[in-house]
Amino acid sequence: MRAAPTPASTSGADPRAAGAPLAVPPRPAGRWKPWAAFAVVVLLTAATLSPWAIGFDADAIARNWRNGADRIVKLFSPDWSFFPRTVEPMLETLQMAVVATVVGAAVALPVSMWAARPTNPNRWTRGAVRLALNVVRAVPELLYAAVLVAMVGVGALPGVIALVLFNVGIIVKMVSETIDGSDRGPLEAGRAAGATQTQINRTIALPEMLPSFVNQTLYVLELNVRASSVLGLVGAGGLGLLVDAVRTYYRYDQLSLIILEILVAVLVIDLVSSIVRRRLV
């Protein structure tokens, strides 16, 4: 493949003698590690696919896929006349979703910074925050709902609290990991200017994490619209309750209208999120 002489070899001033082989440093050891990890993943997947664990039944899929297709087709016939009855639950859901998102985001903003390494170098407080969040995330919404009903009664309040806890868990997890992965240079500049960590977080980390934060906040808003079954559980009303009601009587046509409405909400939120991101990133 080599044709022309390299310029370096023609240069007498170059310390490397002409034609001498390049002293390429040896490849560092440990290159097998990613491959080993990959192999473990493949093995574990193969193990779960085996009949002793989950068992992958391609046969059944080939034979019965029509059943699924039938049900999907049923979902493509919205009953438009049902619309008036969905308006109020939709509004209730949106109302509580917005309240929970706002409160959740407000709580999550500082907590995300306490949970990330560049914005909270103290490993003990960071560890404590992360531990607390692991617990918060580990508890399913239904448990929150069940306990909160007994604590503060039924209605929007337990629903909103359950959603807030759930939201804080997600936003903090995602945003703090974004901060962890971000460029440290600007933060270092703040440190060099004698700013305290809080000041650095406010003036430098905040604008850098804002796109991710806004993103996750909007994502959580979307989740709240969808997770309205939690709200139903605690007597806060909303779409979740309606979904349960219509599917109890196999009204796929009504269900499909509700799904359509949720889809519109999801798409609108997606759109807003992409516009905001384009402005901020």
């Binding site: 200017a193 604008p207 850098e208």
Partner: protein, 267 residues
């Protein structure tokens, strides 16, 4: 420059580096037993090959890179032995210009420059983003000095390379520092701007007596603007003396081969 209430700014700080070694986690020894005494009010240029440890030296003086062994003293403060509050105060008095600019790209130029005022601003004000008019005035003046006042409200990411570097310089000036550390402050600037910036650094030095330590990779600039020159090679000090009189032999020492020969190689 405004005079901070509790301090007389014109009383600048000396820097003492005692037998400092810095080893990075990867195993690279970036500084190797460096000892330097820089008096208050000196204007020092640091030169050396790429990778010789210039940036590391500057970052060590600011405490951004912890020393592996040895001791760094700025003013009366020995870094590493300070409480985090004291560290903030000390750093607030050291203006730093980074090689990679280190701007917060997603916020405005003004906000980036105001970072220089953080050490003098109560935290509640920072949280609200409510800087005093005096602080803002200081920031505008610094921006004006580096010639990009008209970019005040732009996002930092929309600036050209040289413009970004000037924001970084303005940020350091806004600190009203006692020491200025500059890591290749003119690397991305055209000659007039470069001279303007170096001239500014010199003026800070001569008029206000502030200690200035500048990494430069251009020898003519080092010669012209430094009163003293420190040559680094592979993490060791190989030259420390007056800048103006540094001979070609000195450059050979620093760069490992003679300048002239390099120039010939270019032909």
């Amino acid at each position: 420059m405004t005079v901070a209430p509790q301090q007389v700014t014109s009383r600048s700080w000396p820097v003492r580096v005692r037998d400092v070694t810095v080893r990075y986690p990867g195993g690279v020894t970036a500084l190797d037993g460096v000892t330097l005494d820089i008096e208050a009010g000196e204007m020092v240029s640091v030169v050396g090959l790429s990778g010789s440890g210039k940036s590391t030296l500057i970052r060590t003086i600011n405490g951004l890179v912890p020393v592996t062994s040895g001791e760094v003293t700025v003013g009366e403060h020995t870094l590493g032995s300070l409480s985090s509050r004291q560290t903030c105060a000390v750093r607030g008095s050291i203006g730093m210009i980074f090689q990679g600019f280190n701007l917060a790209k997603r916020t405005t130029v003004l906000n980036n420059v105001l970072v220089g005022r953080l050490a003098h601003t109560p935290t509640w004000r920072t949280l609200l983003g409510a800087y005093t008019a005096a602080d803002k005035q200081l920031a505008f003046e610094a921006l004006d000095r580096v010639g990009i006042l008209d970019k005040t409200w732009q996002r930092a990411s929309n600036l050209s390379g040289g413009q970004q570097q000037r924001v970084a310089i303005a940020r350091a000036l806004t600190q009203e520092p006692r020491i200025v550390l500059a890591d290749e402050p003119v690397a991305s600037l055209d000659p007039p701007s470069a001279h303007a910036v170096m001239g500014d650094l010199r003026r800070i030095n001569t008029e206000l007596g502030i200690t200035v330590l500048t990494n430069l990779h251009l020898l003519d600039l080092a010669r012209e603007y430094g009163t003293r020159m420190i040559g680094l090679r592979a993490g060791r000090v190989v030259y420390d003396g007056p800048a103006a009189t540094a001979s070609d032999a000195v450059f050979e020492e620093i760069y490992g081969r003679s300048i002239r020969q390099q120039d010939v190689l270019g032909g």
